[in-house]
Subunit: 341 residues, 2 copies
């Protein structure tokens, strides 16, 4: 149905249990490079029991929205919606527009097309922004997953203007913008046009399990999304962790530098194995090779999970190892593969 859906037949990234079933003989612990999640998690403090026991109040929610507005560069906290991950927002954002023609700039994260279809839209995939002529909802991931493709900010703003003139909406998934070129973000423009920007908390901060994400939009759109989520959508621990992490500028700066350095290290390992790197962000790299399926299985039997794309059988996506021993495992397994080819 959606030819570029990377989630068509394989499990989602990060599903180690499925990987263990597929590679039952692999050494443990499994090394998961199938996601684009920072392996160096934001350090967690001891969490007071009250965060687990009590309903999260209105004040922690307000604090998280204010911290997100500041960190992402949204005009104000009234332009922010906090959610248990951006995933759950996808159908709600798509439903902000009356059912019609939705265009997803592809290939990209497969859930966008699924969510737009759930919201009643006829979904097409388009190769570039120019092809969005008939759509009232356009969804673009910037930088894109899995190829790291960047979209021009002015082109996006012009598209948003055209969409707005026909009652439409531009959705920009900036899940990897924390490690992208900051000036490419549309977070600061959401008050000017019918634009929803999605920001993931868990990927950059390495805390995907707590489920926290944000939509940035004009207050009238933000209020509609917040009404759908209700007053306690985000857990108490997630709100507390989010406020602390999103106001920790020093950690964020250091994490960006570290991830950039480590991606260079990953690039060297991939290049040494003769792989062609076709794109990525500082949280993952995409390679193209005729031996993709073989390499996927080789790594799997070595206890290393990377990401395949059924619609693009020559692609593999590599996330970053964390610990030194993980880097060593990857390097050894890649060298062994290269020596056999």
């Amino acid at each position: 149905m959606f030819s570029d859906d990377p989630d068509q037949s394989l499990p989602h990234g990060g599903d180690l249990a499925a990987a263990r079933r597929l590679f039952a003989d692999a050494p443990e612990p499994f090394l998961d490079l199938s996601t684009g999640i920072n392996p160096h998690s934001y350090p967690l403090q001891e969490l007071p029991i009250d965060l687990f026991a009590r309903l999260p109040g209105a004040d922690p929610l307000a604090a998280a929205k204010a911290a997100a507005a500041q960190a992402y560069g949204a005009p104000s906290a009234a332009h922010v919606v906090a959610a248990p991950g951006t995933q759950i927002l996808l159908p709600l954002v798509a439903a902000l527009v009356r059912p019609g023609r939705a265009a997803v700039v592809a290939p990209t994260y497969g859930e966008h097309a699924r969510a737009a279809a759930l919201a009643g839209h006829d979904v097409i995939e388009i190769a570039d922004l120019d092809a969005a002529t008939a759509a009232t909802l356009v969804i673009v991931t910037n930088p894109n997953n899995p190829d790291g493709r960047l979209f021009d900010k002015n082109a996006l703003m012009m598209l948003a203007k055209r969409l707005e003139s026909r009652g439409g909406l531009l959705v920009v998934d900036e899940a990897f913008m924390d490690v992208g070129p900051g000036d490419a973000s549309l977070a600061g423009e959401v008050g000017r046009r019918a634009i929803v920007v999605l920001r993931s908390f868990g990927k950059f901060f390495g805390l995907a399990g707590i489920r926290l994400g944000f939509a940035l939009a004009a207050p009238y759109l933000a209020a509609r999304l917040a009404a759908q989520l209700g007053p306690w959508a985000v857990s108490g621990p997630a709100l507390a962790i989010g406020v602390e992490a999103l106001t920790d500028r020093a950690w964020m700066e250091q994490a960006r530098c570290r991830l950039t350095e480590e991606t260079t290290r990953l690039d060297e390992i991939l290049a040494d194995s003769g792989l062609e790197i076709v794109g990525g962000t500082p949280l993952f790299r995409l390679v193209r090779t005729a031996a993709a399926l073989e390499l996927f299985h080789h790594l799997g039997h070595a206890g290393i999970l990377v990401r395949m794309f059924p619609a693009h059988p020559s692609w593999l996506r590599f996330g970053l190892p964390g610990a030194d021993e993980d880097w060593n495992r990857l390097q050894i397994a890649m060298a062994a593969f290269a020596n056999r080819h």
Copy 2:
């Protein structure tokens, strides 16, 4: 708009920050009796960092659904949807039925009417199940909040049959059924009729902050709800805690006994102060008094928050204190009030 909405003008229960603004002179710590949440939380183990760092996999979600099916008496895990709290499910459940007439059996939890309206329904409030004749969506809380009213299981099943015959749906919010008469639950019947049963995890287990709740329904309805939520709606910590707690039969048995005993103790304090107890469950009591507003303020200045209902100005709802010193504070404050009247 909704005359019986308890949330019309006051903050939701549990918002201590708002209480502190209202009663700035009150002694700390504030004692929150404004919710129906078990003050004796399920004991938390040390949570592995991976639960926070990694995306929750498919296996923990499947385990939580299986544990919920077993604990609540649903026919199977395929009849279970796990969500970050039942609150976020309300508009999604209401949207399972084409927009039409929705009837909420009232007075009850105010979010039901709001969610049904969000889903496009014309919402009316009805006093009893018999008045639901024209509706395609009927929402009833059993046992009801705040008065503890119980609805007859056979009457609910007959209503579900009538609703189903006109393409409708019965929603039964069993948020307090863990401490209710177990045989009144419709959890075991969801495979037979167009019924959605909502079960809250956080109230009975005293862990409202982690955001976990369930919908029980026929698999075709459960699948529609799960598709809206997407693959990672519930956090890793919530899934892990949920599996452990929902399979801990000994704790559940003891908690039910303890809550029943403690409600008796609460009843004595309320009765000693000359208050008329008009209903409740083992997690809260509802009293009626002409001095409700005065008592609310008296307790507030003593650092004790109870729940008011703007549409029912003679009602106050009391949750359970936890620690001995909390019981003492309540007893002293109530005695002081009684002595002045």
